[in-house]
């Protein structure tokens, strides 16, 4: 009897074996993000690292930690897709899209934003454990519940955006139920365990709220209570303006979730204009965005039985996007790429679902080829964007000087670039950047003060005076926090223009007990010169000397 013919196992069979898919995806993601290990600290990274003991103090190790977190998130994305009964190929493709989605680059590259990665890992692990808890029996169930509860608490504590896991958990559980038994009722059968399940989710929430209350009451720093206008202009808007603009931002985020090819590190109000009436052309784009989100909601609800994966995708996107969309409450940013880390899981679910649909089509070669080409094009461009963004996050100089070119409409980036120029002693370039920033956002007092100070350093006191006066008329962030800096510079400008009475008036306002910054040092020196100047009016010299004498003993320069 002859032996049955066996097909020889080729190299390709080994390489494309299902067990190797996830490691290969993780390897690819690691290779694409590997150049980030050469980066230093940017923006608030250094202070973030010093405040969080679990982060390494060295930039290299910190970035390695972020990379490890991202790879862990990709692995969890694969697990979640598999748990929704998608095929291994579909889950791998979804995880690949998640791992190489360029919108994630900010969350991965900026150490401060790595809280989003942590929030995702903890939240998704908690979701997986929660569903495990429901499906198992006995003591394991209690143990899984306690672990899920702890993970939820840690996720909420990592970042406020993790609160989106609460509504999503309900969506996730419903999708899982519908996949197991599509004819099941809307609500699960009530039993005593339902109370335990509810406690697993609610207890960490209550502890978080209690802690939040405690921290705010005793005056500890919990988040940033002074929302800066440059970070979120919607914080100061109400009613129509806020909702219309928020929908516009949502539309932009949705588009960027699908095509993350034009990225920037800032989206301030000079990038997203505030919509003030329905006659504004942006209003119509905002309406389209609102309709798109509504369509997503309706379609997701309609397909909750037939296509639970799509229901879960729509639910996930809406839960997380709406939570941080300035609809329910005001967040600290109008929009940030890094906070869109978790909503991208919705795209992975969608891709996984499409993969299985296309694979199931009989003889659907053109469809399959089209899907492969689309996926390839998307992955290629997304990888390239990640590779291009990585060196930009090397340090503040590389980031801001580049970003002012790619996002020329951002006043905040122009001001940040000016700060880089000032640190390098390039006052003329700083002045040009600040003039642009002031043109983009004439209502920002901080920019006018920086510009006035730069004009002073350039030896243009008249222009400095005019710029500083504009700061008084500016609306945000409110003149109070920068009043001493403003008056010190203004006093200096008046002194240089020999307008002594105004200078002394400003000097009296500039005498704060705590501040000891460069403008104050310059002002002190200038006032001393003025007191010793015999040609100046005696009365004013005496007044200045009195003010200076009153002030000096209290002054202690920082060590």
């Amino acid at each position: 009897m002859s032996e049955p013919a066996t097909t020889p196992v080729s190299f390709w069979d080994h390489l494309l074996a299902p067990g190797l898919r996830l490691p290969l995806i993780l390897l690819l993601c690691a290779v694409i993000y590997l150049p980030m290990l050469a980066n230093g600290f940017t923006m608030d990274d250094a202070s973030f690292v010093s405040r969080h003991p679990w982060r390494s103090q060295s930039a290299w190790m910190s970035h390695l930690q972020s990379l490890a977190l991202h790879l862990g998130a990709v692995g969890l994305c694969y697990a979640m897709l598999r748990r929704l009964r998608l095929s291994a190929g579909a889950a791998a493709t979804g995880a690949l899209v998640f791992g190489l989605h360029a919108l994630h680059s900010e969350a991965v590259l900026c150490i401060t934003s790595s809280v989003e990665l942590l929030g995702f890992i903890l939240g998704s692990s908690a979701c997986l454990l929660f569903s495990r808890m429901i499906e198992t029996q006995g003591s394991i169930r209690i143990l899984a519940g306690l672990c899920a509860s702890l993970l939820f608490f840690l996720a909420f504590r990592s970042t406020e955006t993790s609160l989106g896991w609460v509504p999503f958990l309900l969506v996730w559980l419903h999708a899982r139920r519908m996949q197991r038994t599509p004819a099941a009722g809307m609500l699960p059968r009530a039993d005593v365990w339902q109370w335990f399940y509810a406690a697993v989710l609610i207890v960490p929430l209550l502890i978080l709220l209690w802690l939040h209350h405690l921290v705010v009451r005793i005056g500890m720093d919990f988040g940033d209570p002074n929302i800066q206008y440059l970070r979120n202009s919607l914080y100061y808007e109400l009613g129509f303006e806020r909702y219309a603009t928020a929908f516009l931002v949502q539309g932009h985020a949705l588009l960027q979730s699908l095509f993350p090819f034009w990225l920037a590190s800032d989206y301030s109000h000079s990038v997203f204009p505030i919509i003030r009436s329905i006659a504004d052309p942006w209003f119509w784009l905002s309406t389209i965005a609102a309709l798109a989100l509504a369509a997503m909601l309706v379609t997701g609800l309609r397909w909750h039985r037939r296509r639970p994966v799509l229901f879960a995708a729509a639910g996930l996107y809406l839960c997380f996007a709406l939570l941080q969309g300035n609809f329910l409450g005001r967040t600290d940013r109008i929009y940030s790429e890094s906070t869109w880390y978790t909503p991208i899981l919705a795209l992975s679910l969608l891709v996984g679902w499409i993969y299985d649909r296309v694979a199931a089509m009989p003889g659907a070669l053109p469809h399959r080829s089209l899907a492969q080409i689309t996926l390839g094009l998307w992955l290629g461009i997304s990888c390239l964007v990640v590779l291009q963004r990585t060196p930009l996050w090397k340090d503040d100089a590389t980031l801001f000087l580049h970003e002012t070119q790619s996002q020329p409409g951002s006043a905040r980036l122009a001001a940040k670039a000016a700060a880089v120029h000032l640190a390098r002693g390039e006052q003329v370039s700083a002045g040009l950047a600040l003039e642009r920033a002031a043109q983009l956002d004439p209502a920002c007092a901080g920019i006018w003060v920086m510009l006035g100070r730069t004009y002073l350093e350039l030896g243009r006191p008249a222009e400095a005076r005019d710029a500083l006066k504009r700061a008084y008329q500016a609306r945000h962030p409110g003149i109070h926090p920068i009043l001493e800096r403003l008056t010190a510079n203004l006093a200096l400008a008046y002194l240089r223009l020999h307008q002594y009475p105004q200078a002394i008036d400003c000097y009296s306002t500039a005498l704060g007990p705590t501040d000891y910054f460069r403008s104050r040092k310059d002002l002190d020196a200038a006032i001393l010169d003025f007191i010793q100047d015999d040609s100046a009016p005696l009365e004013l010299r005496i007044r200045a000397a009195t003010l200076r004498g009153n002030f000096l003993p209290a002054q202690t320069p920082p060590r």
């Binding site: 494309l16 094009l377 461009i381 390239l384 964007v385 590389t398 070119q405 003329v428 040009l432």
Partner: protein, 531 residues
């Protein structure tokens, strides 16, 4: 759409031409940049190039060098057909940039079409040939050639070269009187290719090699008799072209290669060749993954190997061994895998002359020099498609990977085109892209000076001096900036250091001396007590 309609080969070819057209369309808004202003324009302010400004008799161009007289460019370059094309364009449209860019785009589309025809002549698979043509059309390393008007020389050389090849193929296949006609066309095109750019001379070797490869595709056992057929043709043209060139450049002195153009030019072969090998390897990498492009790959951008004591020397030796093994293997399997043999022949053959290995040229690495060699990638793709593994997932994987590559190239092209808008956009972007490029730092510093951003100019030049502390020309620019910043004593030091440093062009010595004298006079004037 009609029921049952399926796209034909022509429709697919139209699509293959349409995609690059759409991607390169923004280039039509660009201005004249970099060398364009000196070489391709008839007039630019006070600058006049008479042979472009006024259309001469066509044969007159065969007596002219490529660079205009009195310019610092390499006066040993000879590209009469390219200058004739500039003059014709100028006669028809003046110095408007749009027609100049449009013509480049049209020539690129013609190149894609010719690549398709060339691949069809070598392979039976239409899909593979279409994909090969698409890969050539979307190869991002071509962006410099298409976006810069002076890239015309590459385009003309490639188009004429491939036309010569295709006509030669037809001549081989014909057995009637038309054979002579095809031969005449081939020979005319070959000569035009030579006269468009010097590196087209490699077509003299590539023409018989391609003919052989084509013959081996049909019959691997076919004896190598084609050399005899092609030898007289290529020999006559090569000698004729070299004689003409010699006559036209009779008075040329040959400007010395400056350090900024090529820092390896003065080095011993033991240092130059390993450095060039590393750059050549980098270019090979760029030919496969052209996603990190730059205008300048000069000093500061690529490492210089200082001799056998340098660890990079041994890396270069390893690269050389690898490349030699690759070439030997391709020669060995030339009959079994003629497409691979041809791919290697075109890449190595066309890039070797400008690689700084046989002799130093006036550049370290120019992306435009890899326009013709990148045809190798299309040949490689056709070969890969023909030899795709039997695994069921292989076509899906290949499709996804190829799409990813195409997507990356398309995105890179879209990003590079606006960079080439004008000299300022180019320099401003490139200094961020290649912060260690001395050349770009100098150019950006000049733009900063124009805007009175003196401190920024000083910072750029300080960065450049860190990389090239010995360069006299840099010290001249730095001294000038320091003077503007009011640091007269530092400026005098910079001028003095500049005179002690390396100066490739004696004009810089004169400038340095004159600046130094003036600065000293100013210093004395300032030190003199007021009367």
């Amino acid at each position: 759409m009609r029921e049952g309609w399926k796209p034909t080969g022509t429709a697919w070819l139209f699509l293959v031409l349409l995609i690059p057209t759409l991607l390169y369309l923004p280039a039509l808004r660009n201005e004249f940049t970099w060398d364009d202003r000196v070489v391709a324009m008839g007039r630019d302010g006070d600058w006049v190039r008479p042979e472009v400004d006024e259309l001469l008799a066509p044969w007159s161009y065969f007596a002219l060098p490529y660079w205009p007289k009195g310019n610092a460019g390499d006066d040993k370059l000879y590209r009469p057909v390219t200058i004739l094309s500039f003059a014709l364009r100028h006669a028809l449209f003046g110095d408007a940039p749009l027609p100049a860019h449009l013509l480049n785009l049209i020539l690129h589309l013609l190149a894609i079409l010719l690549v398709f025809r060339f691949l069809r002549a070598l392979s039976g698979s239409e899909v593979a040939c279409l994909l090969g043509a698409l890969v050539f059309g979307l190869h991002a390393i071509h962006s410099e050639v298409i976006a810069g008007v002076v890239g015309r020389s590459e385009l003309l050389a490639f188009d004429f070269g491939l036309l010569a090849l295709l006509a030669a193929f037809r001549a081989t296949d014909s057995h009637t009187r038309s054979r002579l006609g095809w031969l005449a066309l081939s020979s005319a095109c070959l000569f035009q290719a030579f006269a468009s750019k010097e590196n087209a001379l490699a077509f003299a070797l590539f023409l018989p090699i391609a003919s052989h490869a084509r013959a081996w595709r049909q019959d691997p056992a076919r004896p190598a008799l084609l050399w005899r057929q092609w030898f007289p043709l290529v020999l006559i043209h090569t000698i004729g072209f070299l004689l003409l060139r010699n006559e036209a450049l009779a008075g040329a002195q040959g400007n010395p290669i400056t350090w900024l153009e090529n820092p390896w030019a003065d080095l011993s072969p033991l240092a130059r060749i390993p450095s060039a090998l590393i750059a050549w390897d980098y270019a090979l990498l760029l030919s496969f993954f052209p996603f990190d492009l730059a205008v300048d790959h000069g000093p500061g951008s690529l490492p210089t190997v200082m001799g056998p004591a340098d660890a990079l020397f041994w890396l270069a030796a390893l690269i050389a061994t690898g490349m030699a093994l690759l070439v030997l293997r391709a020669i060995r399997y030339r009959r079994r895998a003629p497409l691979l043999f041809l791919a290697l022949a075109i890449w190595f053959g066309f890039s070797f002359i400008t690689s700084n290995i046989p002799f130093a040229v006036n550049l370290v690495l120019a992306e435009r020099s890899y326009f013709i060699p990148s045809l190798a990638l299309s040949l490689l793709l056709v070969w890969t498609i023909e030899h795709l593994p039997e695994h069921r997932a292989a076509p899906a994987l290949a499709t996804t990977l190829l799409s990813a590559w195409i997507g990356m190239n398309a995105f890179t092209i879209l990003e590079r085109i606006p960079v080439w808008k004008n000299n300022q956009t180019l320099a401003t972007y490139e200094v961020v892209n290649r912060p260690d490029s001395v050349r770009m730092r100098i150019v950006v510093a000049q733009y900063c000076l124009l805007d009175e951003r003196n401190q920024e100019a000083a910072n750029h030049l300080e960065h450049a001096i860190e990389i090239a502390p010995h360069l006299g020309r840099l010290k001249h620019d730095y001294g000038l900036v320091l003077e503007k910043l009011g640091r007269l004593a530092d400026a005098i030091d910079a001028y003095e250091e500049g005179l002690d440093g390396r100066i490739d062009d004696q004009r810089w010595t004169l400038r340095l001396r004159s600046r130094l004298a003036r600065a000293r006079k100013q210093q004395q004037k300032a030190a003199r007590p007021p009367r």
